[in-house]
C-alpha cells in the first residue's frame, strides 16, 4: 500500500472520530439538567428611617445692606486734634515771635570727645 493511500485512510479515520466526538457532545447537551437546589430567600435589609435632625435655632435675620456702607472703625489710638500745633509750627512769623533766644556759650571742653 503506498503512502498516499495510507495518508488518505488516516485522515479519513480522524475525520470520522472527530464527527463522532462532536455528536457525543451534542447529545450530552440534550440531557436533562440537574435539578437546581432551591435557595430560600434572605430577608431584604432595609436602612432604618432617618431620625429627625434637630431644628436649628433661628438666627437673627440679617438686615438688608444699605449702600454706601459706613467706613470701618480704625484702631483705638487716641488722636487728639493737633491742628494748633501745626498752625504754629508752620508759621514762620509766629515761630520767630515766640522763640526763646538761647544763649550760646563757648564750650569749655578740650580735646576729642
Amino acid at each position: 500500500m503506498d503512502t498516499k493511500t495510507l495518508l488518505a485512510k488516516g485522515a479519513g479515520g480522524l475525520l470520522i472520530a472527530g464527527l463522532l466526538f462532536l455528536a457525543a457532545l451534542t447529545l450530552s447537551g440534550c440531557a436533562e439538567p440537574e435539578a437546581i437546589a432551591a435557595v430560600p430567600p434572605t430577608a431584604t435589609v432595609y436602612a432604618p428611617p432617618p431620625t429627625e435632625a434637630p431644628t436649628p435655632t433661628p438666627g437673627p435675620t440679617p438686615a438688608a445692606l444699605h449702600f454706601p456702607l459706613p467706613a470701618p472703625t480704625s484702631e483705638s489710638v487716641e488722636r487728639p486734634d493737633s491742628q494748633n500745633c501745626v498752625d504754629c509750627h508752620t508759621d514762620e512769623e509766629t515761630l520767630k515771635a515766640t522763640a526763646k533766644e538761647e544763649e550760646v556759650k563757648e564750650s569749655l571742653s578740650e580735646g576729642e570727645g
Binding site: E78, R79, P80, S82, N84, C85, D87, T98, K105, L108
Partner: protein
Amino acid sequence: MHERYGCITCHGGVSGTDDKEAAHEGLVRDPPSAKACAVCHPEQAATEGQSLHANLQGYWTVLEARSAPDKMAQIRLVMENHCEKCHSSCGQCHVSRPTNVGGGLLTGHNYKKLPPMNLTCTACHGSRIQDEYKGKNEGVRADVHWIKAGMPCFDCHTADEMHGALGEFNHRYDGPVTPSCSATGLGKECHADMPLAPEIEQHDETHLEALSCQACHSTTYKNCFNCHVGQKDGEVYFKTDPVQMTFKIGLNPRRSAERPWKYVPLRHVPVARDSFAYYGQDLLPNFDALPTWKYATPHNIQRITPQTESCNACHGNAEFFLTADDVLPDEMEANKDVIVSQVPEAVEEGQ
C-alpha cells in the same frame, strides 16, 4: 503715614489752644518708644531697652568694674552730666539727629527707615570711627569697605543689632561677633570663604587662630589719653590730652569662644585714676581691674598694611606690639594681662 496720628499722640502737649505755654504743657520733645513707637512697632520697641545705644550698658559695665558700690552715687552723677547724652531713642536716629550732636530734624519731620549715616551714625561716632572709615586721619587711607565698596554703616551693622534684638549684652564686644568679617548684615556673607584660602600665605590655621582679622588688616588709629571732667558755672565739660596715632597689637583682653584670638589690636581709652575727681575722691578704687588698652576693631581695613609686607614685619619686630615700654607707669598693673612680653620670633622669609 505717621502724620495721621498728629503731633500730640507722640509728643504730648495740649490741643485747642494757641497759647505757647499752655499748648506745651506736658510736652515731650523726644518721646520714649513705649509711648510713641510701640503701638505700631511692637517688635522693635520690645527689645529697644536691650540696645546699647539706649541703655548705655557698656559704660555702666566698665564703670562698675573700676569703681565700687559705695561710689556709685557719684558715678551716677558723672554719667548723668557727661555720658548719658549719648543715649539715643528711636527718634534720634529715625527722625532727627541725635541730641548729643545738637538734634535737628533729618528731612523735615519725615521718618527715615535707613537714616543717613553722616547725620546719625558718624555724627556721634565721628572722631574715631568716621575719621578712620573715611580716611580723615592724615596719612591714613580710608577703609576699603568705604573707599572701594561704598558701604554705609548699616551694610554691616544691622537693624537687629541697633534695636537690641540680638540679645542683652554688657558691652559692645560681649556676645557673638556682630558684624563679623565672614558674615554681615542684610543676608550677605562676605569673606566667608576667605579664612582658609590657601593662596593667601598667612591665611593658614596658625595665623587665623592666633590673630583677629584687624591685627593684620587694620592700620594706625587714634588713641586718647587723660580725660578729666568737671563743671563751671553750670556748664559741664571734659578735657583730654592730644590724641596719639599709633597701632598696637596686644594680648586679647576679651578672649572667649566667640573671640578666640590671642593677638588683637588695642586702643587706649582716656580714663585716668582721677578722671572724675571733680565729683569726689577716689571714685575709681578698682581702676586696675580693667586694662586701659582695650579690645579694638578699627574701621580702617586695608588688604595690604605694614604688617602684611613680610613675615618679619611682625615676627621679631616689637614695633607693632604693645610692650611695657608703651604703657604709662601708672597703668602697668591695669595692662599687665595685655602687654606682649615676648613678640613672636623672627622667621625665615617664605617659611
